[in-house]
Subunit: 352 residues, 2 copies
């Protein structure tokens, strides 16, 4: 089965080799060294400014989203949430659950986020913004520049869920004044799921130090403190941390620019061939991480099932109202141009 | 390096083989089948009564402890916490953080939990009890019978952290009227860390349905609902779930009684040889999962370091006041009697 999914994705040989090895005990100087090296690398690869820190959570992306919200904000805050799909709605749900005042900018399917959407909230006392820079459920990549300018102008803390965008799309924490950048292991890093990370700006760290979040497990003061000596407060996903160490070093060697270029080429190579098929692409900007395919005849789920059953290929199905309309093709992980060519041919056969 | 640790532990070949394989996509009927099979097996192996359910969380044990507390209890409850070490203190901390009224029974190091400790709380309106049935930080195994009788008499909900006791020691949820039994992947199951589970009685499920916990990520209503069709609400630790499926089936085939017997024999085999050494065992009842060693000359950490550096053996060091006094020898995972004999010889050499 070949995976063109949103995670887990096709893993690289070195990752599987590490995953298949006996795990070490983690309360050791050797493990601390790995954790600190990973912190340094994610900071470097995300363009984090001086004074930034990183924490690693044993949790899926939603856990890291919730941890960011409850550690950075409280009842005195007023947040702006961009909800252009199910992951944006999740940020809104997290604010609801924790009774954090917020307004939600809801986008219709296909609607492109623009500066106009933000105008009504300008100068209205908002203290923070929550955005999934790549809304994975639709594939829309928002314009970080618009968001970043607005936050700077309004003195807002900017939290970016980059779970399916980190290392796929251009983003630099310093350039875009991002205060918290969230990522997960099973996306571009192509590792086992179960590990998420947050890179945190200096001023966001200061907020964390002053807050008492409504969770012990997600109390980031504890993670920041223990991370000073490279240790996690609770037993971490040791195996996935070792996989991450290897992958971050590999990407660190080629550099973030080359990495994003590679993702861009892969995505473009695939998209160039779409006109051959009876399929449309959405009109909004896309991440290099995946390509949403729109099926004109409402047969998305049928195509998904036939590709799985007859061709050994798994695309990413959609939920809710997009179920019959959209499939998403992941470009993350160990996917070659040949794999993509093969997918195009098989998609063509299924659509015939 | 041979691990006699509290987790991760020495893994079995089949686990490493699964861990080293490409992960599948999880929004599929095949994955649902695995999740449902695992639910059935953990229920069976824990002696869960009819109407019980199980959920799997992508989190370490502390996450599952917090999830249990915030989903089962609220500000209307009054809890009794047994704190005989750092994991008991963690339960108390979780109650503090969530402003849940509680009394804590604090045990001195070496003090055995008895019925007398509970007498002052009898008939005082307590609604629930939180206990780490094996307090991993000291190795004391509490008497589930005492706790269970007290909870039944007082109509209390009984939450048992069995993270380092499940499948090592005798415990039957039905026989002991346990309402929530917490376990983690990296202990007796000897899997990768990062996955925890909770087996939940019918009346505890009813409590969950009525509560709105202060977390989206740990909202167990969502896990219970999605688990009806074998799916997790958020991307799970897919690899560890596959490892768990394999291990639960293996243990399911030999049965829980034979499994606990095997752990008992391993622990006893090791303990019988302790008199050869200048080491004491604590006077309290012990779990079959690990043996705490008390070093009379305050040289525990030195022994730990020499075993690591000179003998390729990792025992479990202690934190806090027990740092120089105690090491713990794990019997979980792929440890043979030969490994234990070898450890005894090397411990003797280091202690000479």
């Amino acid at each position: 089965m070949k995976l063109f999914t949103a995670g887990p994705v096709e893993m690289f040989g070195s990752t599987k080799e590490i995953a298949g090895s006996q795990l070490p005990y983690f309360r050791t100087p050797e493990f601390s060294e790995i954790m600190l090296r990973s912190e340094g690398l994610v900071k470097k690869l995300s363009g984090a400014p001086k004074g930034s820190r990183a924490v690693f959570l044993t949790a899926s992306g939603t856990g890291a989203m919730e941890a960011s919200v409850i550690n950075l904000f409280g009842t005195q805050d007023r947040l702006l949430v961009v909800a252009g799909g199910s992951f944006g709605e999740r940020f809104a749900e997290i604010c609801d659950r924790h009774r954090i005042e917020h307004e939600t900018i809801r986008l219709e399917f296909g609607e492109i986020l623009s500066g106009d959407h933000l105008v009504p909230y300008d100068g209205k006392g908002f203290t923070g913004m929550l955005i999934n820079i790549h809304e994975t459920s639709t594939g829309q990549l928002y314009d970080i520049g618009i968001v970043s300018d607005f936050c700077r102008k309004n003195g807002m803390i900017l939290v970016v869920d980059a779970i399916s965008s980190f290392l796929a799309d251009d983003m630099d924490m310093m350039k875009s004044s991002v205060d918290a950048m969230i990522f997960s292991s099973q996306k571009v890093l192509a590792l086992s799921p179960g590990l998420s990370g947050i890179v945190i700006s200096e001023r966001a760290c200061e907020r964390i130090e002053k807050a008492i979040p409504s969770s012990v497990y997600f109390d980031m003061r504890r993670y920041l403190k223990d991370m000073e000596r490279g240790q996690p407060p609770f037993t971490p996903a040791v195996g996935t941390i070792l996989e991450m160490d290897d992958m971050l070093q590999r990407i660190g060697r080629i550099g973030v620019r080359a990495q994003v270029e590679r993702m861009k080429r892969t995505a473009e190579h695939f998209r160039e061939r779409i006109p051959e098929l009876d399929i449309e692409l959405p009109g909004y900007p896309l991440s290099n991480a995946l390509t949403p395919l729109l099926f004109k005849h409402g047969n998305a789920l049928g195509v998904y099932e036939r590709l799985r059953a007859e061709h050994g290929i798994t695309l990413t199905p959609s939920g809710g109202p997009l179920r019959d309309r959209m499939l998403r093709v992941g470009h993350m992980g160990n996917i070659t141009e040949d794999d993509q060519n093969d997918l195009i041919i098989r998609l063509g056969k299924v659509l015939e």
